[in-house]
């Protein structure tokens, strides 16, 4: 098995597609849709890579990323942020919060697989 991925995303069809895609590559995918406790789930599950959507119910992806970075249990975890907003200020906010890779939707399946693979190394 390649490792564990925490997928924090509230669009169920994106979760289905990404889970299928990554599981075929040997990853164990844990999906979580609620922003409120996402950082705690990351600390509890200890994934190898976190995929995080920017727009989530109850808490923004940027805020969750800050919490992940502030927690010593998750501070070093690689985080791939997904957003449909590719605007410069969103990208700047994500970088300031400590994102590892920032990817805009729509993305190619191969790009996701390659990025997750490189982040896990």
């Amino acid at each position: 098995m390649a490792g564990k991925i925490l997928l924090i995303e509230d669009e169920p069809h994106i979760v289905e597609a990404l889970s299928f895609l990554l599981e075929r590559e040997g990853w164990q995918v844990v999906a979580h849709s609620n922003g409120a406790d996402a950082a705690q789930v990351a600390a509890l599950r200890q994934p190898d890579v976190i995929i995080l959507d920017v727009m989530l119910p109850n808490k923004s992806g940027i805020e969750i990323l800050r919490e992940i970075r502030a927690n010593t249990q998750t501070a070093q975890k690689p985080v791939l942020m997904l957003t449909a907003k590719g605007q410069a200020r969103d990208r700047a906010a994500a970088q300031e919060a400590g994102v590892s890779v920032f990817m805009t939707k729509p993305f190619s399946n191969q790009a996701i697989i390659d990025t997750v693979r490189s982040l896990a190394q």
């Binding site: 669009e11 069809h13 994106i14 289905e16 597609a17 990404l18 299928f20 895609l21 075929r24 920017v54 727009m55 119910p57 109850n58 808490k59 923004s60 992806g61 940027i62 805020e63 449909a84 907003k85 200020r89 969103d90 906010a93 805009t104 939707k105 729509p106 993305f107 190619s108 399946n109």
Partner: protein
């Protein structure tokens, strides 16, 4: 003197009298060729020759020389300068004199073109900042992501199980339908006729937008309130009164909180409105207005402003790029500007977290506009200023999870929701 119309008027008057060029030239003692140059505005004319021509043409000299259309000259010159291929600007007066009808037509077309350029700029600005369009684009990109990713899986996974194939095909169908609904919503948005609520701003609001919320000439005493009011077209008695009060208030606040001293105090108080009010011994509402009307500077946070009356109608708005405001009503009820009505005079500070994750620091207060009325409650007006600048961030304040207004807010379980999210 602009010589443009002098020559043309001489020619018109001569023709009206059915006099030949040579006869007129002889009568005033100049050559016919020189008169020809004058009539075609290729030579200036003044003094004795002009007096003689006026006498011979039986008109007062002022009828020939006054009223030359300097405005038209300036307008055509401005139009010429906006062109990539600049024409013979030095011959503008001659052009007006020779072809006055064409000159006026060109000026009119130039004015229309300028107006359309401004409309285009406003529409482009709207495309970039409109919250509905932003949300719609977000939804469309999400739909496309699912369709692209799922279709890619179906295309590149020949051994996919029937169960997965069926489910993914269903997902593509669902997302395609959503995409079509969202696209239709966008088309409807552009097709919708402009209604009063979206197209007719409050005059005070429109006025300040036009003046970019800062009036250095009024502060320096170079211009007056009356001059500024005179520059506002389409004024009614109500709007004039509102604008006058607004300008007087601005001038008074600027006088009490001089720019240099205010900038220094901002640094020493960490941009805290209450501390600034105490520093200048002035009501906090004055500080809020001064902060929102400061000229743009890297040394001070940029504040937006919103004011509303007790019905919630927005009377004054100044946006900042990171925080859009609704056009004229129906903002999110969680915004503290509305809560301020519950305790007039009590300043409220709060952080709003928008669905995009942007955190906005706000200061709000409601004040009494008039209370000297029997058996009626006081009229209140509420003000909120806001910024995303971290220099004005509040030390300890959990954010309020807010939105812009319900129709474009994706917070599905919000207790304050009154209408559906348009993209749900």
């Amino acid at each position: 003197m602009v010589r443009t119309l002098v020559g043309s008027r001489i020619r018109e008057r001569r023709r009206a009298l059915k006099q030949t060029q040579s006869a007129l030239a002889q009568a005033v003692g100049i050559s016919a060729s020189y008169l020809n140059l004058i009539e075609h505005n290729r030579r200036g004319i003044a003094g004795r020759t002009l007096l003689a021509l006026a006498a011979e043409l039986e008109v007062d000299i002022s009828e020939l020389s006054e009223g030359a259309d300097g405005v038209l000259v300036n307008r055509l010159t401005e139009i010429a300068k906006t062109s990539s291929e600049i024409p013979e600007i030095e011959r503008t007066e001659e052009f007006i004199g020779r072809y006055p009808g064409w000159a006026k037509l060109l000026a009119s077309v130039g004015k229309t073109a300028q107006s359309q350029r401004e409309n285009l700029a406003a529409l482009t600005d709207r495309m970039n900042h409109d919250p509905f369009l932003s949300e719609t684009m977000h939804q469309i990109l999400s739909n496309i992501t699912v369709i692209r990713s799922t279709a890619g899986i179906l295309d590149t996974t020949p051994d996919i199980s029937d169960e997965h194939r069926t489910r993914f095909l269903k997902n593509i169908r669902t997302e395609s339908q959503r995409l079509s609904t969202t696209a239709q919503a966008m088309v409807d948005f552009f097709d919708a006729p402009q209604t009063e609520t979206t197209a007719t701003p409050h005059p005070e609001d429109e006025f300040w937008v036009q003046l970019k919320h800062h009036l250095p000439e009024l502060e320096a005493g170079i211009t007056t309130i009356e001059t500024l009011l005179d520059q506002q077209p389409k004024r009614t008695a109500t709007s004039t009164s509102a604008l006058q009060h607004s300008l007087q208030y601005y001038r008074d606040v600027a006088r009490d909180l001089p720019l240099d001293a205010f900038h220094r105090a901002i640094s020493s108080t960490a941009c805290d409105p209450l501390a600034l009010a105490q520093h200048f011994n002035t009501p906090v509402i004055n500080v809020l207005h001064r902060l929102a009307h400061l000229p743009a500077s890297p040394d001070t946070p940029a504040f937006g402003l919103m004011e509303c009356d007790m019905s919630g109608a927005i009377l004054l708005r100044k946006e900042i790029p990171e925080f859009a405001l609704p056009q004229y009503s129906s903002a999110c009820p969680l915004w503290p500007i509305y809560r301020a009505f519950a305790a007039p005079g009590q300043p409220i500070r709060a952080v709003l977290e928008m669905p995009t994750g942007v955190q906005v620091t706000t200061f709000s207060i409601a004040r009494t506009i008039t209370s000297d009325r029997y058996d009626l409650p006081p009229l209140l007006r509420s003000t909120m200023i806001f910024t995303t600048d971290p220099r004005a961030a509040l030390p300890t304040s959990p954010p309020i999870l807010a939105g812009l207004h319900c129709s474009v807010c994706p917070r599905k379980h919000c207790a304050e929701r009154r209408i559906d999210y348009i993209l749900s």
